[in-house]
């Protein structure tokens, strides 16, 4: 059984100007010890999915349907009290720009201590020992535990935040743009570190990023998101070498690379749509080079097109 | 070209009005202001209606028509709010004083905010020595002993409402509001579009006038509303305490009543028409401008808006 199974998940926000369909009928699975990459542009819903899985939604958000099965248990109907047992202890998250949300007036060690004691009562000595363990795991010198965030470099802050997410031994970590603000060399090290941790602890990982190159290197399977819908889901190799959804194909062709042939980049016209009034039918149709009449009227269904390869398109590539 | 600009301005005014109307306090305040503005403007018509200036002039009139009964006189048909201790029609005084209060408030706050906006923007833009000078000046102004100054001044010259308006304008202009508007100007100054304006070739004054000030003005307008409240209220208190020698104002009305001993003990109830009408108008007028200010808060500060 998969560690995490999301089926037909739908969530929307209510705003003064209308309902934002942030996540629409999304399906995917995550196996223990494997890494899933969610890739897409701004507003595609990748962060919203993470917040929905953890049920960390604001007041004006509502889950309209679907299931989130963690180890067989559906999280959707759980109350807030029940959810608290799952958050951090079983499913944990490194939020976008978390490294910038470290409280500047407390030492990093104190902040992790607070997070740990909030979830399991432990004596301070035991907690500090645990923090030292975690620091070693993420590649930080335990001695810096008692320093303040401003004394840490960007890479160190990110490692500290990852340590915090690991503190209660979760089985899944969701990392939302974990290396976006970091320089390339630091990014490389952190990604390697995260991968090492995943293997050592046999954890499931969900990476969220707009950077296809990063997703290519860290994920076993990839879900491509567009305007709140998942348009393609397959293993990494398939997504890059034989994508069938026109958006996936366009995304791959639009990314320059430092290695390989210097090929011509393909321009994608238009911009990602407004989620309050998304286009009728397939949400990608205004920008799609393969658009036909049916695309403008009916939303394509997310179906299995090959072994463990899913796509939602009327005119997919072959 | 200008046709399009007029259309655009109308469009943005309509959008802002929508937000303003949506706030609960704003429209109430606006109603109060418009009501009292009309109230004050109607005074000349009132005098015409009443006919006799000898009786109804707010400063030098005398209720000859009520003789031989004494003054102050409780409300009657010919004097709906009665007369004060010098026999002057109170309703007429109220109208006249309300109009003057508007003038005082708008001049004091208007010029005051004009000065703060300019000074704040210049200080923010140039920084360094100019900034220090204006900020130290603001510190001095905020500590200024207004009352002592006015007492001394009133011994030397006659302080009319207009002169008071100018004094308040200068104090408000170089005082605390400057610091607030300067910090707003600073948030604008560090934005990349200011650098872009410099790269386009803009000189200092073009950038200040065309880029920084327009982005500070919404906040200026907000503080102008609060400034009017401050001006009207300050005048009321200063007149009440007898520090001004204005001939007629809302504050003077209460001062006159108090000075002649009509506000002590049980007289407070009997002679309510001497202090309640002006007091009420001062409060409502100040509240009106304050509410408009609060209503504008949402328009000016996008972060306060509901999602």
């Amino acid at each position: 059984m998969a560690l995490l199974e999301v089926s037909n998940l739908t969530m929307h926000y209510t705003t003064r100007v209308g309902d934002v369909m942030a996540v629409d009928s999304v399906d995917f699975t995550l196996e223990r010890g494997r890494a899933l990459g969610l890739v897409g542009e701004s507003g595609c819903g990748k962060t919203s999915i993470a917040m929905t899985i953890l049920k960390l939604l604001p007041e004006n958000a509502r889950i309209l349907g679907g299931q989130i099965r963690f180890d067989g248990v559906d999280l959707v109907p759980l109350s807030e009290d029940q959810m608290r047992k799952y958050r951090w202890d079983h499913i944990s998250m490194v939020f976008q720009a978390a490294m910038n949300s470290l409280n500047p007036v407390y030492t990093v060690g104190d902040q992790i201590l607070e997070a740990i004691q909030h979830h399991m009562p432990m004596k301070e000595r035991a907690v500090r020992k645990r923090i030292a363990e975690l620091f070693n795991l993420v590649g930080l010198d335990p001695a810096v535990m008692d320093q303040y965030p401003h004394e840490y470099s960007g890479g160190m802050k990110q490692r500290a935040v990852i340590a915090m997410a690991l503190s209660c031994d979760p089985s899944i970590i969701i990392a939302d743009e974990p290396t976006t603000a970091l320089d390339v060399i630091v990014q490389d090290r952190i990604l390697k570190q995260i991968d090492k941790i995943r293997e050592e602890l046999n954890m499931g990982m969900i990476y969220i990023s707009h950077d296809i190159a990063v997703i290519a290197e860290v994920s076993d399977r990839i879900g491509v998101m567009y305007a709140g819908k998942m348009v393609e889901f397959a293993d990494t190799h398939t997504i890059f070498k034989s994508p069938v959804h026109p958006y996936t194909y366009a995304l791959m062709s639009t990314f320059p690379s430092v290695k390989g042939d210097k090929r011509e980049l393909v321009e994608l016209s238009g911009e990602p749509p407004n989620l309050i009034e998304p286009p009728l039918g397939c949400r990608f149709h205004p920008r799609c080079p393969r658009v036909t009449a049916v695309c403008q009227e009916q939303e394509p269904v997310f179906t299995e097109v090959a072994n463990e390869h899913f796509c939602a398109c009327w005119n997919q590539r072959s | 070209m200008w046709k399009v600009r007029v259309k655009l301005t109308a469009k943005s005014l309509r959008a802002n009005w929508g937000m303003f109307a949506h706030s609960k306090l704003g429209p109430i305040g606006l109603f109060l202001i418009v009501f009292f503005l009309l109230f004050g403007l109607v005074h000349p018509l009132y005098l015409v209606y009443r006919g006799s200036d000898k009786i109804y002039d707010p400063v030098v009139g005398f209720a000859y028509d009520l003789l031989p009964e004494g003054n102050p006189h409780p409300p009657t048909l010919s004097h709906p709010l009665g007369t004060d201790i010098l026999g002057r029609d109170i309703l007429g005084q109220l109208m006249h004083s309300t109009a003057k209060a508007f003038m005082l408030g708008l001049i004091a706050a208007g010029f005051g905010v004009l000065i703060s906006t300019l000074v704040g923007s210049i200080a923010a833009y140039f920084g360094g020595f100019i900034d220090s000078v204006f900020m130290r000046l603001a510190d001095v102004v905020m500590l200024f002993p207004l009352i002592a100054f006015l007492v001394a001044l009133s011994a030397a010259i006659e302080i009319t409402l207009f002169k008071l308006a100018i004094i308040l304008a200068i104090l408000m202009g170089f005082g605390g509001t400057t610091i607030i508007l300067k910090s707003q100007a600073l948030t604008v100054k560090v934005k990349p579009f200011i650098e872009a304006a410099r790269v386009s070739g803009g000189g200092h004054f073009r950038i200040i006038l065309s880029h920084i000030i327009p982005n500070v003005l919404p906040l200026s307008f907000l503080y102008m509303m609060f400034g009017v409240t401050t001006a009207i209220f300050s005048e009321a208190i200063l007149s009440y305490l007898g520090f001004l020698n204005v001939r007629m104002s809302l504050g003077i009305m209460i001062y006159t009543a108090n000075d002649s001993g009509y506000l002590i003990g049980s007289r407070l109830g009997t002679y309510w028409y001497l202090w309640l009408p002006p007091g009420l108008i001062i409060s409502l007028l100040c509240a009106g401008f304050y509410f408009v200010g609060r209503g504008l808060d949402e328009v000016v500060n996008p972060r306060l808006r509901e999602r």
Partner: protein
């Protein structure tokens, strides 16, 4: 033979650091030091490096948003480094323009698209009202915002990120400059939108025969946009050469490490990252020796004792500042 539009010689910029409560000695950040390069007419030079390497500061120096501490900036032959204001500066601003990184914050939110693009024309007193309207409309079409009349009187918040950046490009180009400094123009745009803007810039570069300084931390983008690359580290240039040559055959140990760390969007490609210790710091009163010494995997005792290595031509215009190459 193309002319040299811009030549920078020994450019230097120091920023004083607050010394602390009791210290009297002022420390300096050596943001840019001993920087020299040329850009020909019609050529795009990429300035690449990690954060804090001095590339953005260099961009601002070349556009004269900040004054240099030392060195020369030759524009079409004349040294503009010491110009502070007046007619000379205005002349310079007619020829040299900049595109900023943030499409949201680089425009005054209270101005219409027309006002934004027309600003350089107004300030430089080019044309009358009617002529300007035509020029702005033409420019809008030129950057792919059509029909221009629909967009001219919109406000920035009504435009998408990609459209805003196109307007920014129109603003820079409307005055017909000969040199453009682009500071990370696509890094804040959505991925699917970047290509369009990049292609637009390439097209305009050809059309106007512009010299361009393209500042970016993304080497993949630099590969696509630039003819030559200059790699900066802690304020100094460590490698310079033709783009493909530098990317496929890097010589400086920092460049090698940097390129090896870039993720490749190809799951069949195995990448060998060259490990280097430590992280980037600020060049505060740096030691006169090579600034990469502390982290360099091939540093020798010689490197510790000698001054910072000069840029040397290692063959066919590929310059490196290293003793161990």
């Amino acid at each position: 033979m193309n002319n040299t539009t811009v030549e920078v010689v020994d450019l230097k910029k120091l920023f004083p650091m607050a010394g602390g409560l009791f210290s009297r000695k002022v420390r300096y950040i050596h943001a840019v030091e001993d920087l020299s390069f040329k850009i020909q007419e019609g050529e795009t030079l990429g300035l690449v490096g990690e954060s804090g390497c001095g590339k953005t500061t260099t961009g601002k120096l070349l556009v004269k948003l900040i004054p240099p501490t030392g060195g020369h900036i030759y524009f079409n032959g004349s040294d503009v480094a010491t110009i502070e204001g007046g007619a000379l500066l205005r002349e310079y601003r007619r020829k040299v323009q900049m595109i900023f990184q943030d499409p949201y914050e680089s425009m005054n939110p209270r101005k219409t698209v027309y006002d934004i693009i027309a600003e350089p024309l107004v300030v430089q007193k080019v044309g009358n009202i009617v002529e300007r309207e035509t020029m702005v409309a033409e420019m809008l079409s030129g950057v792919g915002i059509v029909p221009p009349d629909t967009f001219m009187f919109r406000y920035p918040h009504e435009l998408s990120g990609g459209q805003r950046q196109r307007v920014a490009i129109a603003r820079a180009m409307v005055i017909n400059p000969s040199f453009l400094v682009a500071d990370e123009p696509t890094s804040m745009l959505d991925v699917s939108v970047r290509t369009g803007v990049m292609k637009l810039m390439l097209q305009l570069r050809k059309e106007f025969n512009l010299a361009v300084l393209y500042i970016t931390h993304d080497l993949a983008v630099a590969r696509y946009m630039c003819d030559r690359l200059a790699v900066m580290y802690l304020g100094r240039m460590v490698e310079l050469g033709e783009t493909e040559e530098v990317l496929q055959n890097p010589l400086h140990p920092y460049t090698k490490a940097l390129i090896s760390a870039i993720p490749i969007p190809d799951p069949t490609f195995t990448r060998e990252a060259i490990p280097i210790k430590g992280g980037v710091s600020k060049p505060v009163d740096p030691h006169p020796r090579c600034r990469f010494y502390d982290r360099c995997p091939v540093a020798t005792d010689g490197c510790e004792k000698l001054e910072h290595p000069p840029l040397e031509d290692k063959g066919s215009g590929h310059y490196v500042a290293c003793y161990e190459v």
